[in-house]
């Protein structure tokens, strides 16, 4: 891995035309809703990039985030970007294994201390460190050790950002997110299960070009997570008109009507799925006919059920109402009986009123 060539030089070597490169920068700029004037800025910055060292730690994850990223059908330029970012440690993609792999990590840390980028996917057991280890080192220890020398941290995927599926009830491993453990470094959360490939690369480009992006209250880049699916969904007109699919194969579903009734979490989910979409803009779950799971939101596994609409209470309200009615009947009967008794005693206390009673001063 030669670290002394800039990205621009490497691209030139590979025969990537300036035109293709600029096209990539233009696409990235438009994805981040930046004005055309920013394209030359992105181009200039990326060109001059010396391949920064990237250490990618994978903890309790399913490798889906890596799969998503590397399966990207985007312009091969993205592959090249990863080629030209010095990916010094990645379980799935690295050639080395065993102690050689760990050694490579330690060397990269030492050589680039304070300057490398730490990317994390997968959640971390917060208490019982034995649940997940790499080369005998617990996830938590490794995270804290590597984070100490990182310039910035990017948590990729819902597991690293919010705990993901390991964090779901009953969370047997005590899984927590990166931001639960690392408190003293800037963390960019890129959630999704998995995140959209172009969003991952977009965030990296944004970071490399402009530094830390604007983050929302959950640490997500506002450029990609600033709008809800509901606000950008192409089926929104059906929601507004009150046309909903009632089941997966009814007339409404076939006509592509809104999936709110089938449990779509679009209204409370912030991501770029409805605009950027998946597979190079082919489709996204709603377009394929399945309600949004809300996978870029915290605890989406425990958010009341994928197929329960957002407005529906999560507990059994019908049963509660029946119990309440029964309790009310019992309490009401008791209270009513005491009120009747109270009235009866007033009736018993009645002293016959005569004309003489009325005439006296009281």
């Amino acid at each position: 891995m030669s670290k002394d060539k800039t990205l621009g030089e490497t691209l030139q070597e590979r025969g990537i035309s300036r035109r293709s490169f600029l096209k990539f920068c233009a696409t990235t700029a438009s994805m981040m809703a930046l004005p055309p004037a920013m394209i030359p800025v992105i181009a200039a910055t990326l060109e001059k990039l010396r391949r920064p060292s990237v250490i990618w730690l994978s903890f309790q994850e399913c490798t889906g985030c890596t799969e998503s990223l590397t399966r990207s059908h985007s312009a091969t330029i993205e592959d090249l970007i990863f080629d030209t970012i010095s990916l010094d440690y990645h379980h799935t993609l690295q050639a080395a294994s065993g102690s050689a792999a760990e050694q490579a990590r330690e060397e990269a840390m030492q050589e680039n201390y304070g300057n490398y980028i730490l990317v994390v996917d997968g959640s971390i057991p917060g208490e019982n460190n034995g649940y997940s280890t790499i080369a005998g080192i617990s996830n938590k220890d490794m995270l804290l050790e590597v984070a100490a020398g990182a310039a910035a941290i990017v948590a990729v995927g819902s597991c690293a950002t919010f705990g993901g599926i390991p964090h779901a009830d009953p969370n047997p491993t005590g899984a927590v997110s990166v931001s639960d453990l690392v408190k003293d470094k800037a963390i960019v959360n890129v959630p999704g299960c998995p995140p959209i490939p172009a969003v991952i690369t977009g965030v990296l480009v944004q970071f490399l070009t402009f530094g830390l992006p604007e983050l929302d209250q959950l640490g997500r880049p506002a450029a990609f997570y600033g709008n809800s699916i509901h606000d950008r969904c192409y089926r929104r007109p059906f929601y507004d008109k009150g046309l909903f699919a009632n089941s997966f194969d009814d007339e409404g579903a076939k006509k592509g009507w809104c999936l709110f009734k089938l449990g779509c979490k679009g209204p409370t989910t912030y991501n770029a799925c409805a605009t950027t979409k998946w597979n190079d803009g082919t489709s996204f779950p709603i377009e394929a006919g399945h309600p949004c799971l809300g996978c870029s939101e915290p605890d989406f596994w425990d958010a009341g059920g994928f197929y329960k609409a957002l407005s529906i209470p999560t507990e059994d309200i019908g049963k509660t109402a029946v119990y309440a009615g029964a309790a009310g009947l019992i309490a009401g009967a008791a209270i009513g009986a005491s009120l009747r008794a109270r009235k009866q005693s007033a009736v018993k206390n009645h002293e016959r009123v005569t004309i003489d009673d009325l005439d006296q001063e009281s």
């Binding site: 209270i335 009120l339 109270r342 009235k343 007033a346 009736v347 206390n349 009645h350 002293e351 016959r352 009123v353 005569t354 004309i355 003489d356 009673d357 009325l358 005439d359 006296q360 001063e361 009281s362």
Partner: protein, 420 residues
């Protein structure tokens, strides 16, 4: 005799509260529509005459005795309990400014029968010694003498003799086995004795078997107006005793609103058992006779007339169509006033208000409402079927310098009756 006391009054209020009362107070949303239905408010624009507001003491008792949170609040000292001063403060609202006319009960959007509750609240007011002096006086006379105006049997007998002579007709008294026992109001005996002659002539022509009772000729019931059921029951019992003694089929109540309410609707409930005779208002009997073709008229009333619905007979009593059929029989030029029928406006004198001297000014002020109705039509005379309404309307017309005769429906029929 323990005399009136706050304890007795409070206890009476507790006794009176029932499921309807609780439903009414639970539902009131303070919309104020009842105010616009009450002539005491519409003619004074004083918010304190808002009907539901007149019930504050009763509502407080309901809240603090019969609701969970109300009792809790009272126990924790968070709400002020009802005091004797409250009842004293509410005396004019409960008595002087309510005729029990029932319009508020008709307009309340949530269905509150406010009149029903005013009647109940008066039980507590009276037992606590906060009923108006003049009403107490009238009631004392009713209980001890037999008539709130102090009319004794000799006075009635004098009127009977006069009537018999004038019309050459027999007025039956204490006739056992007669079909109908007729009762009278003191107001009629004293101020409108033509009524006795009228029914005598009508019954003679229509061949109706009837009688008066020397023991129970008074139909009105001060106990109802002052709001003391114990006394009201005693007064009704006199008529019941007479009716049973004379073995009549039905008791006829005269042209008096509250008398009808007292014996027809309240009576059995006051004495605690159903009657074994029917109760009819004179208008009901007359209408039955009309329908059977037993009333022959010789001519018709020429003047343009309208009909004032006495509240206790029409809206609260259920006799709305009969007077109209009778008027149409006896008059060709009958014009209804605006809001006639069950929504007609009270004359302002019922519910004990006319017996309450303290309420005189207020009562005359409310006549403006009836005046407005009359001004909308241009009639020569007003027909009604309650002598209390008649007296008060006459007073009001005089106060407002209007020249309109007040006619009794029964007397008008008798006047145009065919000769035998």
């Amino acid at each position: 005799m323990s005399g009136p006391s706050f304890q007795r009054g409070y206890n009476a209020l507790k006794e009176e509260i029932d499921a309807p009362t609780a439903a009414f107070f639970s539902s009131c949303v303070h919309c104020g529509m009842c105010a616009e239905a009450c002539l005491f408010f519409t003619e004074t624009r004083d918010p304190k005459y808002t009907p539901i507001h007149k019930l504050e003491p009763l509502r407080k008792v309901w809240k603090q005795e019969y609701t969970f949170w109300g009792k809790l609040g009272k126990a924790l000292g968070l709400s002020r309990p009802l005091t004797d001063q409250d009842l004293a403060d509410w005396e004019t609202l409960a008595y002087d400014s309510c005729t029990l006319c029932g319009r508020c009960s008709m307009v309340c959007p949530v269905g509150n029968d406010i009149t029903y509750m005013i009647r109940k609240m008066r039980e507590g007011m009276a037992a606590a010694g906060h009923a108006p002096k003049s009403l107490i006086g009238a009631t004392r006379r009713a209980v001890t003498i037999g008539s709130p105006m102090g009319v004794k049997l000799p006075a009635l007998q004098a009127q009977i003799r006069h009537t018999e002579k004038e019309f050459d007709i027999k007025v039956p008294v204490d006739v056992e086995g007669a079909e109908y026992l007729c009762t009278l109001s003191s107001m009629e005996i004293m101020n409108f004795p033509e009524y006795i002659g009228s029914i005598a002539r009508i019954f003679s022509l229509a061949k109706v078997s009837w009688t008066l009772s020397s023991k129970a000729f008074e139909a009105t019931n001060s106990g109802i107006q002052i709001g003391v059921s114990d006394i009201a029951a005693e007064l009704v019992q006199r008529i019941v005793d007479a009716a049973e003694e004379l073995k009549v089929k039905a008791v006829i109540s005269p042209e008096c609103g509250h008398a009808y309410m007292a014996i027809r609707w309240d009576g059995p409930n006051l004495v605690g058992k159903p009657f074994n005779f029917r109760v009819l208002h004179i208008l009901e009997l007359l209408d039955e006779l009309r329908a059977q073709g037993r009333l022959k008229m010789k001519d018709k009333e020429a003047r343009k007339v309208t009909y004032h619905d006495p509240c206790q007979i029409s809206r609260r009593g259920g006799i709305i169509d009969q007077p109209r059929k009778l008027i149409n029989m006896v008059a060709d030029n009958f014009v209804e006033m605006p809001e006639a029928g069950k929504m007609n406006w009270c004359c302002g004198a019922g519910g004990g208000v006319s017996s309450n001297e303290r309420a005189d000014d207020l009562r005359l002020k409310t006549f403006a409402r009836k005046k407005a109705q009359l001004d909308a039509i241009n009639v020569d005379a007003i027909v009604s079927a309650c002598s209390n309404c008649r007296i008060h309307l006459e007073e009001g017309l005089e106060e407002y310098h209007m020249e309109l005769p007040l006619l009794s429906l029964t007397e008008t029929i008798a006047e145009h009756l065919a000769e035998e």
